[in-house]
Protein backbone atom coordinates (compact mmCIF):
# COMPACT_ATOMS: atom_id res chain seq x y z
CA UNK A 1 0.00 0.00 0.00
CA UNK A 2 2.77 2.43 0.87
CA UNK A 3 4.46 1.76 -2.44
CA UNK A 4 1.17 2.55 -4.17
CA UNK A 5 1.04 5.87 -2.38
CA UNK A 6 4.67 6.54 -3.14
CA UNK A 7 4.29 5.92 -6.86
CA UNK A 8 1.12 7.97 -6.91
CA UNK A 9 2.55 11.01 -5.18
CA UNK A 10 5.80 11.17 -7.08
CA UNK A 11 3.87 12.19 -10.13
CA UNK A 12 2.34 15.06 -8.23
CA UNK A 13 5.46 16.99 -7.32
CA UNK A 14 8.89 15.44 -7.50
CA UNK A 15 8.57 14.15 -11.00
CA UNK A 16 5.62 16.17 -12.18
CA UNK A 17 5.33 16.53 -15.91
CA UNK A 18 5.67 18.92 -17.63
CA UNK A 19 7.31 21.17 -15.08
CA UNK A 20 10.01 18.88 -13.72
CA UNK A 21 10.13 16.33 -16.51
CA UNK A 22 10.17 18.78 -19.37
CA UNK A 23 8.22 16.51 -21.65
CA UNK A 24 5.11 16.95 -23.72
CA UNK A 25 5.66 20.64 -24.28
CA UNK A 26 3.52 21.01 -27.37
CA UNK A 27 0.09 20.35 -25.87
CA UNK A 28 1.14 22.19 -22.71
CA UNK A 29 1.72 25.35 -24.68
CA UNK A 30 -1.19 24.91 -27.02
CA UNK A 31 -4.23 24.11 -24.87
CA UNK A 32 -3.46 26.22 -21.82
CA UNK A 33 -5.11 29.35 -23.15
CA UNK A 34 -8.29 28.42 -21.36
CA UNK A 35 -8.84 26.34 -18.25
CA UNK A 36 -11.64 24.35 -19.86
CA UNK A 37 -9.50 23.07 -22.72
CA UNK A 38 -6.61 22.28 -20.37
CA UNK A 39 -8.94 20.29 -18.15
CA UNK A 40 -10.39 18.47 -21.14
CA UNK A 41 -7.02 17.48 -22.51
CA UNK A 42 -5.81 16.52 -19.04
CA UNK A 43 -8.69 14.09 -18.64
CA UNK A 44 -7.92 12.58 -22.03
CA UNK A 45 -4.28 12.14 -21.03
CA UNK A 46 -5.21 10.51 -17.72
CA UNK A 47 -7.45 8.04 -19.51
CA UNK A 48 -4.86 7.12 -22.14
CA UNK A 49 -2.09 6.91 -19.54
CA UNK A 50 -4.16 4.59 -17.33
CA UNK A 51 -5.24 2.34 -20.19
CA UNK A 52 -1.78 2.10 -21.69
CA UNK A 53 -0.05 1.55 -18.33
CA UNK A 54 -2.50 -1.19 -17.37
CA UNK A 55 -2.44 -3.00 -20.72
CA UNK A 56 1.31 -2.80 -21.10
CA UNK A 57 1.86 -3.91 -17.53
CA UNK A 58 -0.57 -6.80 -17.93
CA UNK A 59 1.14 -8.06 -21.06
CA UNK A 60 4.67 -7.12 -20.17
CA UNK A 61 5.84 -10.70 -19.98
CA UNK A 62 4.55 -11.44 -23.46
CA UNK A 63 5.83 -8.46 -25.43
CA UNK A 64 9.18 -9.26 -27.05
CA UNK A 65 11.75 -6.65 -26.20
CA UNK A 66 12.82 -5.97 -29.75
CA UNK A 67 9.44 -4.83 -31.00
CA UNK A 68 8.20 -3.33 -27.79
CA UNK A 69 8.12 0.27 -28.99
CA UNK A 70 5.80 -0.34 -31.96
CA UNK A 71 3.57 -2.49 -29.75
CA UNK A 72 3.41 0.26 -27.13
CA UNK A 73 2.61 2.74 -29.85
CA UNK A 74 -0.27 0.62 -31.17
CA UNK A 75 -1.72 0.26 -27.67
CA UNK A 76 -1.43 3.97 -26.97
CA UNK A 77 -2.81 4.89 -30.39
CA UNK A 78 -5.83 2.65 -29.86
CA UNK A 79 -6.55 4.26 -26.49
CA UNK A 80 -6.24 7.69 -28.11
CA UNK A 81 -8.65 6.66 -30.87
CA UNK A 82 -11.17 5.68 -28.19
CA UNK A 83 -10.78 9.10 -26.56
CA UNK A 84 -11.09 10.81 -29.94
CA UNK A 85 -14.31 9.05 -30.89
CA UNK A 86 -15.84 9.47 -27.42
CA UNK A 87 -15.10 13.18 -27.41
CA UNK A 88 -16.46 13.61 -30.89
CA UNK A 89 -19.66 11.87 -29.85
CA UNK A 90 -20.31 13.23 -26.37
CA UNK A 91 -18.20 16.35 -25.89
CA UNK A 92 -18.38 17.93 -29.30
CA UNK A 93 -17.59 21.53 -28.32
CA UNK A 94 -14.52 20.36 -26.42
CA UNK A 95 -13.58 18.26 -29.42
CA UNK A 96 -13.75 21.32 -31.69
CA UNK A 97 -11.65 23.43 -29.30
CA UNK A 98 -8.97 20.81 -28.74
CA UNK A 99 -8.91 19.93 -32.42
CA UNK A 100 -5.67 18.36 -33.48
CA UNK A 101 -4.36 17.96 -29.92
CA UNK A 102 -6.48 14.90 -29.22
CA UNK A 103 -4.81 12.62 -31.75
CA UNK A 104 -1.52 14.24 -30.78
CA UNK A 105 -1.82 12.66 -27.33
CA UNK A 106 -0.28 9.66 -29.08
CA UNK A 107 3.08 11.36 -29.49
CA UNK A 108 3.02 12.85 -26.03
CA UNK A 109 6.39 11.66 -24.77
CA UNK A 110 4.88 11.40 -21.29
CA UNK A 111 2.80 8.35 -22.14
CA UNK A 112 5.43 6.45 -24.08
CA UNK A 113 7.96 7.51 -21.48
CA UNK A 114 5.97 6.03 -18.60
CA UNK A 115 5.35 2.86 -20.58
CA UNK A 116 9.03 2.46 -21.28
CA UNK A 117 10.29 3.49 -17.87
CA UNK A 118 7.70 2.01 -15.59
CA UNK A 119 4.79 0.00 -16.91
CA UNK A 120 6.85 -2.65 -18.61
CA UNK A 121 8.77 -3.39 -15.46
CA UNK A 122 6.12 -3.20 -12.76
CA UNK A 123 2.90 -4.86 -11.76
CA UNK A 124 -0.57 -3.69 -12.65
CA UNK A 125 -1.45 -2.07 -9.32
CA UNK A 126 1.76 -0.03 -9.22
CA UNK A 127 1.33 0.92 -12.85
CA UNK A 128 -2.14 2.21 -12.07
CA UNK A 129 -0.66 4.31 -9.26
CA UNK A 130 2.05 5.65 -11.53
CA UNK A 131 -0.37 6.42 -14.34
CA UNK A 132 -2.86 8.09 -12.01
CA UNK A 133 -0.18 10.15 -10.31
CA UNK A 134 1.52 11.30 -13.48
CA UNK A 135 -1.76 11.94 -15.24
CA UNK A 136 -3.16 13.88 -12.31
CA UNK A 137 0.09 15.79 -11.92
CA UNK A 138 0.08 16.65 -15.58
CA UNK A 139 -3.55 17.76 -15.49
CA UNK A 140 -2.97 19.88 -12.38
CA UNK A 141 0.08 21.49 -13.96
CA UNK A 142 -1.58 22.41 -17.21
CA UNK A 143 -4.70 23.59 -15.40
CA UNK A 144 -2.59 25.86 -13.18
CA UNK A 145 -0.71 27.20 -16.20
CA UNK A 146 -4.04 27.72 -17.93
CA UNK A 147 -5.44 29.46 -14.87
CA UNK A 148 -2.49 31.84 -14.85
CA UNK A 149 -2.92 32.60 -18.52
CA UNK A 150 -6.66 32.90 -18.42
CA UNK A 151 -6.94 34.98 -15.23
CA UNK A 152 -4.24 37.42 -16.21
CA UNK A 153 -5.03 37.26 -19.88
CA UNK A 154 -8.77 37.63 -19.92
CA UNK A 155 -9.86 38.11 -16.35
CA UNK A 156 -11.94 34.97 -16.34
CA UNK A 157 -11.49 31.50 -14.89
CA UNK A 158 -13.33 28.68 -16.57
CA UNK A 159 -15.41 31.31 -18.28
CA UNK A 160 -16.44 32.97 -15.04
CA UNK A 161 -15.34 36.55 -14.61
CA UNK A 162 -13.01 36.83 -11.60
CA UNK A 163 -11.18 40.09 -12.13
CA UNK A 164 -12.93 43.43 -11.60
CA UNK A 165 -14.77 44.74 -14.62
CA UNK A 166 -12.20 47.45 -15.20
CA UNK A 167 -9.44 44.88 -15.74
CA UNK A 168 -8.39 44.91 -19.34
CA UNK A 169 -6.87 41.55 -20.00
CA UNK A 170 -3.20 41.16 -20.81
CA UNK A 171 -4.22 39.43 -23.97
CA UNK A 172 -0.71 38.51 -25.02
CA UNK A 173 -0.73 35.78 -22.41
CA UNK A 174 -3.50 33.94 -24.18
CA UNK A 175 -1.69 34.02 -27.51
CA UNK A 176 1.16 31.75 -28.55
CA UNK A 177 4.08 33.97 -27.50
CA UNK A 178 2.52 34.34 -24.08
CA UNK A 179 2.43 30.58 -23.69
CA UNK A 180 6.18 30.30 -24.07
CA UNK A 181 6.84 33.17 -21.71
CA UNK A 182 4.46 31.87 -19.03
CA UNK A 183 5.89 28.38 -19.14
CA UNK A 184 9.42 29.79 -18.93
CA UNK A 185 8.49 31.85 -15.89
CA UNK A 186 6.81 28.91 -14.20
CA UNK A 187 9.85 26.69 -14.81
CA UNK A 188 12.02 29.39 -13.26
CA UNK A 189 9.63 29.46 -10.31
CA UNK A 190 9.91 25.67 -9.96
CA UNK A 191 13.69 26.01 -9.94
CA UNK A 192 13.36 28.63 -7.22
CA UNK A 193 11.07 26.45 -5.12
CA UNK A 194 13.27 23.38 -5.37
CA UNK A 195 16.35 25.44 -4.54
CA UNK A 196 14.60 26.73 -1.44
CA UNK A 197 13.49 23.21 -0.49
CA UNK A 198 17.00 21.88 -0.88
CA UNK A 199 18.39 24.66 1.24
CA UNK A 200 15.89 23.92 3.98
CA UNK A 201 16.68 20.23 3.93
CA UNK A 202 20.41 20.93 3.82
CA UNK A 203 20.54 23.03 6.95
CA UNK A 204 18.90 20.20 8.85
CA UNK A 205 16.25 22.34 10.55
Amino acid sequence: MSSFIREFTKGLWKEVPPFRFVLGLCPTLAVTGHVSSALGLGCGVIFVLLVSNVVISAFRKFIPSKIRVPVFIVIIASAVTIVELTMEAYFYSLYRVLGIWIPLIVVNCLILGRAEAFARKNGIILSIADGLGMGLGYTLSIVSLASLREILGAGTWFGIRVMPASYIGFELLQRPPGAFICLGLILALMNFISLKLEKNEGCGC
Binding site: L104, P176, L187
Partner: protein, 192 residues
Protein backbone atom coordinates in the same frame (compact mmCIF):
# COMPACT_ATOMS: atom_id res chain seq x y z
CA UNK B 1 1.32 28.63 -58.69
CA UNK B 2 0.50 31.75 -56.71
CA UNK B 3 -1.56 29.66 -54.33
CA UNK B 4 1.41 27.48 -53.51
CA UNK B 5 3.66 30.43 -52.86
CA UNK B 6 0.99 31.92 -50.61
CA UNK B 7 0.75 28.62 -48.78
CA UNK B 8 4.50 28.50 -48.28
CA UNK B 9 4.74 32.06 -47.00
CA UNK B 10 1.85 31.50 -44.62
CA UNK B 11 3.21 28.23 -43.29
CA UNK B 12 6.72 29.57 -42.79
CA UNK B 13 5.84 32.91 -41.24
CA UNK B 14 2.25 33.64 -40.32
CA UNK B 15 1.39 30.17 -39.15
CA UNK B 16 4.86 29.07 -38.18
CA UNK B 17 4.48 25.48 -37.14
CA UNK B 18 6.63 25.91 -34.09
CA UNK B 19 5.97 29.34 -32.70
CA UNK B 20 2.32 29.76 -33.59
CA UNK B 21 1.04 26.24 -34.01
CA UNK B 22 3.10 24.70 -31.21
CA UNK B 23 4.05 21.58 -33.11
CA UNK B 24 7.57 20.26 -32.60
CA UNK B 25 8.43 22.02 -29.36
CA UNK B 26 10.25 19.24 -27.57
CA UNK B 27 13.17 19.04 -29.96
CA UNK B 28 12.94 22.80 -30.37
CA UNK B 29 13.84 23.42 -26.77
CA UNK B 30 15.95 20.30 -26.39
CA UNK B 31 18.15 20.36 -29.46
CA UNK B 32 18.70 24.08 -29.84
CA UNK B 33 21.66 24.30 -27.50
CA UNK B 34 24.19 24.20 -30.28
CA UNK B 35 24.04 25.28 -33.89
CA UNK B 36 25.51 22.03 -35.18
CA UNK B 37 22.88 19.81 -33.63
CA UNK B 38 20.21 22.26 -34.79
CA UNK B 39 21.43 21.93 -38.36
CA UNK B 40 21.37 18.15 -38.06
CA UNK B 41 17.85 18.21 -36.69
CA UNK B 42 16.65 20.59 -39.38
CA UNK B 43 17.83 18.35 -42.18
CA UNK B 44 16.33 15.24 -40.65
CA UNK B 45 13.04 17.00 -39.94
CA UNK B 46 12.67 18.28 -43.50
CA UNK B 47 13.43 14.88 -44.95
CA UNK B 48 11.11 12.87 -42.72
CA UNK B 49 8.32 15.46 -42.76
CA UNK B 50 8.00 15.53 -46.52
CA UNK B 51 8.31 11.77 -46.90
CA UNK B 52 5.85 10.89 -44.16
CA UNK B 53 3.27 13.49 -45.19
CA UNK B 54 3.20 12.20 -48.73
CA UNK B 55 3.01 8.55 -47.72
CA UNK B 56 0.35 9.05 -45.05
CA UNK B 57 -1.69 11.17 -47.45
CA UNK B 58 -1.58 8.43 -50.06
CA UNK B 59 -2.51 5.81 -47.49
CA UNK B 60 -5.41 7.91 -46.25
CA UNK B 61 -6.78 8.72 -49.70
CA UNK B 62 -6.35 5.37 -51.35
CA UNK B 63 -6.86 2.95 -48.49
CA UNK B 64 -8.61 4.44 -45.47
CA UNK B 65 -11.23 6.55 -47.19
CA UNK B 66 -12.45 3.92 -49.71
CA UNK B 67 -12.70 1.38 -46.89
CA UNK B 68 -14.42 3.96 -44.61
CA UNK B 69 -11.82 3.41 -41.92
CA UNK B 70 -10.96 7.09 -41.34
CA UNK B 71 -11.11 6.69 -37.57
CA UNK B 72 -8.09 4.42 -37.76
CA UNK B 73 -5.93 7.25 -39.00
CA UNK B 74 -4.29 7.83 -35.61
CA UNK B 75 -3.12 4.24 -35.31
CA UNK B 76 -2.15 3.86 -38.96
CA UNK B 77 -0.33 7.21 -39.26
CA UNK B 78 1.80 6.74 -36.20
CA UNK B 79 2.73 3.20 -37.17
CA UNK B 80 3.61 4.35 -40.67
CA UNK B 81 5.76 7.19 -39.36
CA UNK B 82 7.56 4.95 -36.88
CA UNK B 83 8.29 2.30 -39.49
CA UNK B 84 9.20 4.90 -42.08
CA UNK B 85 11.83 6.42 -39.85
CA UNK B 86 13.22 2.97 -39.08
CA UNK B 87 13.31 2.12 -42.79
CA UNK B 88 14.91 5.40 -43.75
CA UNK B 89 17.55 4.86 -41.11
CA UNK B 90 18.42 1.44 -42.47
CA UNK B 91 18.44 2.56 -46.11
CA UNK B 92 20.52 5.63 -45.39
CA UNK B 93 23.00 3.58 -43.44
CA UNK B 94 23.56 1.35 -46.44
CA UNK B 95 23.35 3.80 -49.33
CA UNK B 96 24.50 7.18 -48.02
CA UNK B 97 26.59 6.64 -44.90
CA UNK B 98 27.91 10.19 -44.91
CA UNK B 99 24.40 11.65 -44.82
CA UNK B 100 23.43 9.09 -42.18
CA UNK B 101 26.32 10.07 -39.99
CA UNK B 102 25.60 13.77 -40.32
CA UNK B 103 21.95 13.25 -39.34
CA UNK B 104 23.14 11.14 -36.45
CA UNK B 105 20.87 10.61 -33.53
CA UNK B 106 18.23 13.05 -34.72
CA UNK B 107 16.65 10.65 -37.14
CA UNK B 108 15.20 8.24 -34.56
CA UNK B 109 14.36 11.18 -32.32
CA UNK B 110 11.93 12.37 -34.92
CA UNK B 111 9.54 9.46 -34.55
CA UNK B 112 7.68 10.90 -31.60
CA UNK B 113 8.06 14.43 -32.86
CA UNK B 114 4.60 15.94 -32.72
CA UNK B 115 5.41 17.92 -35.81
CA UNK B 116 5.68 14.95 -38.14
CA UNK B 117 2.49 13.38 -36.90
CA UNK B 118 0.77 16.74 -36.57
CA UNK B 119 1.51 17.81 -40.12
CA UNK B 120 0.32 14.43 -41.43
CA UNK B 121 -3.00 14.87 -39.60
CA UNK B 122 -3.29 18.54 -40.61
CA UNK B 123 -2.90 17.66 -44.28
CA UNK B 124 -5.78 15.25 -44.01
CA UNK B 125 -7.93 17.53 -41.87
CA UNK B 126 -7.52 20.43 -44.25
CA UNK B 127 -8.31 18.18 -47.18
CA UNK B 128 -5.21 19.02 -49.16
CA UNK B 129 -4.55 17.65 -52.60
CA UNK B 130 -1.34 15.77 -53.11
CA UNK B 131 0.50 18.81 -54.47
CA UNK B 132 -0.75 20.88 -51.56
CA UNK B 133 0.42 18.20 -49.14
CA UNK B 134 3.86 18.24 -50.70
CA UNK B 135 4.14 22.02 -50.58
CA UNK B 136 2.69 22.26 -47.08
CA UNK B 137 5.05 19.67 -45.64
CA UNK B 138 8.09 21.35 -47.21
CA UNK B 139 6.93 24.74 -45.97
CA UNK B 140 6.22 23.65 -42.40
CA UNK B 141 9.58 21.94 -42.20
CA UNK B 142 11.28 25.10 -43.44
CA UNK B 143 9.40 27.10 -40.82
CA UNK B 144 10.55 24.64 -38.16
CA UNK B 145 14.14 24.78 -39.37
CA UNK B 146 14.11 28.57 -39.47
CA UNK B 147 12.86 28.93 -35.91
CA UNK B 148 15.17 26.19 -34.65
CA UNK B 149 18.28 27.68 -36.24
CA UNK B 150 17.49 31.16 -34.96
CA UNK B 151 16.94 29.90 -31.43
CA UNK B 152 20.10 27.79 -31.56
CA UNK B 153 22.11 30.80 -32.63
CA UNK B 154 20.69 32.86 -29.79
CA UNK B 155 21.27 30.14 -27.21
CA UNK B 156 24.87 29.75 -28.28
CA UNK B 157 25.30 33.44 -27.57
CA UNK B 158 23.71 32.92 -24.16
CA UNK B 159 26.41 30.52 -23.09
CA UNK B 160 28.75 33.50 -23.21
CA UNK B 161 26.48 35.76 -21.21
CA UNK B 162 25.39 35.85 -17.61
CA UNK B 163 22.01 34.40 -16.87
CA UNK B 164 20.49 34.26 -13.37
CA UNK B 165 20.80 30.68 -12.09
CA UNK B 166 17.05 30.34 -11.74
CA UNK B 167 16.57 30.96 -15.41
CA UNK B 168 19.34 28.85 -16.85
CA UNK B 169 18.43 26.13 -19.24
CA UNK B 170 14.76 25.79 -20.08
CA UNK B 171 13.24 28.97 -18.63
CA UNK B 172 15.43 31.34 -20.61
CA UNK B 173 15.04 29.20 -23.75
CA UNK B 174 11.27 29.34 -23.44
CA UNK B 175 11.15 33.06 -22.78
CA UNK B 176 13.41 33.63 -25.78
CA UNK B 177 11.13 31.45 -27.85
CA UNK B 178 8.24 33.57 -26.62
CA UNK B 179 9.92 36.75 -27.76
CA UNK B 180 10.69 35.14 -31.10
CA UNK B 181 7.07 34.11 -31.29
CA UNK B 182 6.13 37.72 -30.69
CA UNK B 183 8.13 38.71 -33.76
CA UNK B 184 6.57 35.99 -35.86
CA UNK B 185 3.21 36.95 -34.48
CA UNK B 186 3.59 40.19 -36.32
CA UNK B 187 3.33 38.19 -39.52
CA UNK B 188 -0.17 37.00 -38.75
CA UNK B 189 -2.44 38.49 -41.33
CA UNK B 190 0.28 38.23 -43.96
CA UNK B 191 -1.75 35.59 -45.73
CA UNK B 192 -4.62 38.00 -46.17
Amino acid sequence: MGNYILMMVTAIFANNILLIRFLGNCPFVGVSTSLDSAIGMSGAALFVNVLSSCITWMLYSFVLVPLELEYLKTVVFILVIASLVQLVEIILQKTAPALYRSLGIYLPLITTNCMIFGVAVLNVQQKHTFMQTLVYSIATAIGFDLALLILAGIRERFSLGRIPPLFQGFPVALITAGLMGLCFFGFVGLGQ
